[in-house]
Structures are given as structure tokens and as C-alpha cells.
């Protein structure tokens, strides 16, 4: 599953580079891929100074959703087979205190192929309490944001979409400078502080159904309008932090996360188009609790966000139990609710909510490879709704179905 597009692309968009630079970037990515493959064949995997350490992860799934498109399901009962992704992680210590990290991402989804350099940073360790990092890094937010794509670190094929989906709250990465460190043995604290820029993906379909009495104009409902509703948004001057505290009780930890950033206004609006209104800062806060033993896994998070166009509250809890050595049973409940500043047409209110129950069973071939089968029952249309220009027609006809079910089968591995 991949919600946001590549952060390298983000950097390109930020700089407004032309096609020539994009070709150079594309070649750079290919060279990186080649380098990684060569390194895979030649390096020892010890992690000592001067050596390159290679790890990777990947997934494939088939999904079927009965109503609208959601995750691996293409909607209307059709099977969607093209859900493939693969990521290589490269790490090296050229010198004792210097570490270089990179992640190369390859994805095929619904016939579209994407290759991206998602992480590229250099880090200097002053001590174990202070590591200074610069470049493109995963966002340290909550339990999953810095391990977004690693299927073997979670009980379901996909992350809880209420918190980690296209809701504009948790981006996959930031471009900037970060400081992190850890201290303590029994009580163990890991902290992160970072500044820079981010890209999030919003899917504000409800914006097409703003009540005319509210004084604001609804967005277009055609294809272009849809694209406008589902788009990448950039945050500048981001300041964020995360702490995670592991307790002396094995496997029990909790944490807090937050960031504040300035949404970037649209540049050069076209003729006849209005500029974005003055945007207020986006503030996002999260709390997390986790218990993990050999057999039992419990994770829960609550996120609240104050955005330009309203507020968001999101929550999930997931529980998984291993049995008979290889098997795992898992369940999850999640919920997200948008509270926009503007009034929405009554027929479109389900576009503000998403509730989901998931049950799944997994077979672990070994700690690095798992087969997962899950059934999702969704109510609300925030994340599942008609695609293209159909949504306005469907809503106005009163035909918006607020329930979707998804069945998916997938394999995930990491090494």
C-alpha cells in the first residue's frame, strides 16, 4: 500500500524543475537501483564500518471490493491483481559516526508503475543521545509512520486508513533536518525533533457538496474537480517531535507525536481561478499505546488534527494473537470523522466519516514472510466512494451507498 507519491518527486515539484531535470532524476534513480543490485551481489551483511547493509521488503495482493474502490479492491466486485510493491533499504557507515541511508521504492498498482527514491539521508552520531540527520527521512509519528511500507511489522496487509490513509494528517516523509536519540535501559526513551517540509495527500470529496447557504462555492464535480479534491498538499516550515517510552515491563510502550506546519498556497492560479484563502497552520497531535509479546499484539492510536478547512479525529485499535506457531488471528476497529468549518449538503454527510471493522488470519512461514487473508467491512464514504465525475450524480440522486466490503489475500516479506 502506498498513499503518498515519492518524496523525490516532492523535491522536484518544490523546485519546479523541467523535463530535463526529471530525466536526470529518473536516470539517477536507475543508477541507484543498479548500485543497490550490485551491492547486493557483492557486499557482506555485517554492519561494520565501511560495509554496505542491504535489506528489503515487498508485497503482493489480490483484492475484491463489492461497492467502491478501496485499498486492493477495485470496486463493483471485480478482482484487482495488480498490487505489487518492493523496496530496498541501503545503509552504510563510511566512518564510525557517519551513517548514510537510502530507500528505493518500486510499485505497480492498477497498471501504473512507479520507481522512487523515498529516503536519502546522512546522519552524524555525536553520542547515542544525539544523532543529527539531514535529507529525506521517514516521519517519526505514531507507531507506523516510519515503517509505513513494512508488511511483516503489522497484523494486516494494509495500515489502518483512518489514521494513515489519504486524510492529509500523516505524511510518509519529511525533507529537512532531524535530531534523535535514546537513553535509559529499563525505562527507555527515544525522542525525535525535526524541521523541514512535508507532502500530504488529502481526499476532500465533501468539498464538492458545500451547502450554498454557507456562502462558499462548492468545487467542480467533473474530473478536474475530482483531481482538485484528491491532491498532494505541501506543508512548509514544519516543526515536529515524537517521543516513545518503553517501560520496564517487556513489550509495553507508549508515546506522543505532534507537528505544526504552514500549508503552501497554490502558486500562479489560472485565469478566472481564485487563489487559495489564507491558510492557517496545520496542527496534528497523536498518542499511541502498544503491547507486544511473542503471542499477543495490541496497538492503539488516537490522532487529532486542526487543519485549514476543519478538524479531524481518528482512532484505531488492533489486536492479534499468534497460535500453533505459524498462525495469527487479528482484528481491528478504526474510525475517522471530519468536522469541516463549512456546512455540507445533507445527502453528502457520509463523505465525512469512515468506520471499519477488519478480521484476518495470517500464516507466518517464518518471521520474514507471511500470507494474509482479511475481510473488511466499511461504513461511511470518506475513503470509499464513486470515482471520476460520477460522485456528484450519485450523491444528488441519493444513490450513495455508505457500505463497502473488501476481501483481500496477500503475501508480504522482508529480509
Amino acid at each position: 500500500m502506498k498513499v503518498n507519491t515519492s518524496f523525490a518527486e516532492h523535491a522536484l515539484e518544490r523546485e519546479n524543475v523541467g523535463p530535463k531535470e526529471r530525466v536526470i532524476m529518473s536516470n539517477l534513480q536507475k543508477c541507484t537501483a543498479l548500485f543497490v543490485l550490485v551491492a547486493m551481489c557483492s557486499s557482506s551483511l555485517a554492519g561494520e564500518t565501511g560495509e554496505v547493509v542491504i535489506h528489503g521488503t515487498g508485497s503482493w495482493a489480490v483484492g475484491n471490493s463489492d461497492q467502491y474502490e478501496y485499498l486492493q479492491g477495485g470496486g463493483e466486485g471485480s478482482n484487482q491483481w495488480q498490487n505489487i510493491d518492493f523496496m530496498l533499504n541501503l545503509s552504510s557507515h563510511p566512518y564510525e559516526n557517519l551513517r548514510i541511508g537510502a530507500q528505493l521504492w518500486y510499485e505497480i498498482e492498477s497498471e501504473e508503475t512507479e520507481v522512487a527514491l523515498e529516503v536519502a539521508f546522512a546522519e552524524w552520531a555525536f553520542s547515542e543521545v544525539h544523532h543529527l540527520r539531514a535529507g529525506l527521512s521517514r516521519v517519526p509519528f505514531g507507531i507506523y509512520a516510519d515503517i509505513f511500507d513494512i508488511g511483516t511489522l503489522r497484523p494486516f496487509y494494509s495500515l489502518p486508513q483512518s489514521v494513515y490513509g489519504s486524510n492529509g494528517m500523516i505524511p510518509e516523509g519529511y525533507a529537512g533536518i532531524g535530531l534523535w536519540g535514546q537513553l535509559g535501559d529499563g525505562w527507555h526513551l527515544v525522542y525525535d525533533l525535526y524541521v523541514g517540509g512535508m507532502k500530504t495527500r488529502d481526499m476532500d470529496m465533501y468539498m464538492m457538496f458545500i451547502d450554498a447557504d454557507s456562502g462558499a462555492a462548492p468545487a467542480d464535480g467533473d474530473e478536474g474537480g475530482m483531481a482538485e479534491m484528491s491532491r498532494d498538499r505541501f506543508l512548509d516550515d514544519v516543526v515536529g517531535g515524537h517521543i516513545q517510552i518503553s517501560t520496564p515491563w517487556d513489550g509495553l510502550s507508549f508515546g506522543l507525536s505532534s507537528y505544526v506546519g504552514k500549508p503552501r498556497a497554490e502558486e500562479d492560479p489560472g485565469e478566472g481561478e481564485s487563489e487559495d484563502p489564507i491558510w492557517s497552520d496545520q496542527e496534528v497531535y497523536g498518542v499511541q499505546l502498544e503491547y507486544m509479546s511473542d503471542a499477543l499484539l495490541l496497538r492503539t492510536e488516537y490522532i487529532m488534527a486542526d487543519k485549514n478547512n476543519g478538524s479531524i479525529n481518528a482512532f484505531y485499535i488492533e489486536l492479534a494473537h499468534r497460535f500453533l506457531e505459524h498462525w495469527q488471528l487479528a482484528g481491528r476497529f478504526e474510525s475517522i470523522e471530519l468536522d469541516p468549518d463549512l456546512e455540507i449538503d445533507a445527502d453528502a454527510l457520509s463523505l465525512l466519516d469512515h468506520e471499519e471493522y477488519v478480521i484476518g488470519i495470517n500464516y507466518w512461514l517464518n518471521p520474514g514472510a507471511v500470507v494474509k487473508l482479511a475481510f473488511h467491512s466499511i461504513s461511511g464514504n470518506l475513503l470509499t466512494h464513486p470515482e471520476g465525475g460520477e460522485i456528484r450524480e450519485v450523491v444528488e440522486a441519493g444513490n450513495l451507498d455508505n457500505s463497502t466490503r473488501l476481501l483481500n489475500l496477500g503475501v508480504q516479506f522482508s529480509f
Binding site: E123, I147, I150, D185, D294
Partner: protein
């Protein structure tokens, strides 16, 4: 080859390679006992269990005098590692593997160097002042120093 086919081949190949590692088993059938060892120049006599956990999970990377600690692990499929993981880390090898995956992909750390035998661990600890490792209870530890673990 189409991109999608190439992707599928990559996935299958990597998935199968993950599966083969689980098939390896130690030939020793007897219960594994281990001792914790450090370099002879290391003044440490014993360590608390949480301190050992910190060193072997890279939650701390220094000795008390500020010098760098260099822990090494045994091979993933060894019974000794299984016993060490259970008795000291209080986790299964699978759970420790998950912990390292989290560290790797979040860009925080990479796993400890893995050495294939007691002899390699003994040689590493003998030659490196900051080293710490564990070997079988019946290994020849005359060239290194055995330390205790306090609960």
C-alpha cells in the same frame, strides 16, 4: 519482460529466499547453555539484565566509562541464540527479528554483526576491547573474561 512480470518475479524470488532461512536447523539437539563474555581488559564483572538487553538491542552503545561497546550475535538459526533471546532478551528470535526490522526500516540502526560459531565470537571478543558476546557454556573461554548477569 513487462514491468509487472519483472515485479512479480522479484517478489516471488525474494519471498522464496525468505522461506529458505527458516528451514535451517542446528544439528545440536541438547539444551543450549551460554555464558556472557567480554575482553580481558574490560573491568566489568557483571551486568544487570536490562543493561545487557540495552547493549544487544543497541539501545545503548557505550560502556560505563564511555568507550564504545561492540556486541556480536550468534547465527540466527543457532540454539544458543534462541536460548539467549529467551533468557536475557525475554523475546523469541522471531520477536527480536521484528525489532530489528523496525530499526532497519525506520533508519535508526542495523542488526548486530552475526558470527557463525563460538570460535568466531571468542576471536572477536579477544581482539576487540569493547566487544561483548555469548558462547556455549562448554566453550574454551580462557582467552576472554566471563561476566555475570544480575536480574
Amino acid at each position: 519482460m513487462k514491468a509487472s512480470s519483472l515485479g512479480l518475479v522479484l517478489i516471488v524470488a525474494a519471498f522464496l529466499s525468505c522461506g529458505t532461512s527458516a528451514a535451517q536447523e542446528s544439528e545440536s539437539g541438547r539444551p543450549a547453555t551460554f555464558v556472557l563474555i567480554v575482553n580481558k581488559t574490560n573491568p566489568t564483572v557483571s551486568l544487570g539484565r536490562s543493561r545487557v538487553v540495552g547493549l544487544f538491542l543497541k539501545k545503548s552503545s557505550e560502556w560505563d566509562d564511555g568507550s564504545p561497546a561492540r556486541p556480536v550475535d550468534q547465527a540466527k538459526d543457532s540454539l544458543l541464540r534462541e536460548a539467549f533471546s529467551k533468557d536475557i532478551l525475554h523475546k523469541s528470535v522471531a520477536a527480536v527479528n521484528s525489532y530489528w526490522q523496525q530499526q532497519i526500516f525506520s533508519g535508526r540502526a542495523v542488526p548486530l554483526p552475526e558470527l557463525a560459531s563460538d570460535e568466531e565470537v571468542l576471536a572477536h571478543v579477544r581482539l576487540n576491547p569493547g566487544a561483548i558476546g555469548y558462547v556455549s557454556g562448554d566453550a574454551n573461554v580462557s582467552a576472554v573474561k566471563v561476566i555475570g548477569v544480575d536480574e
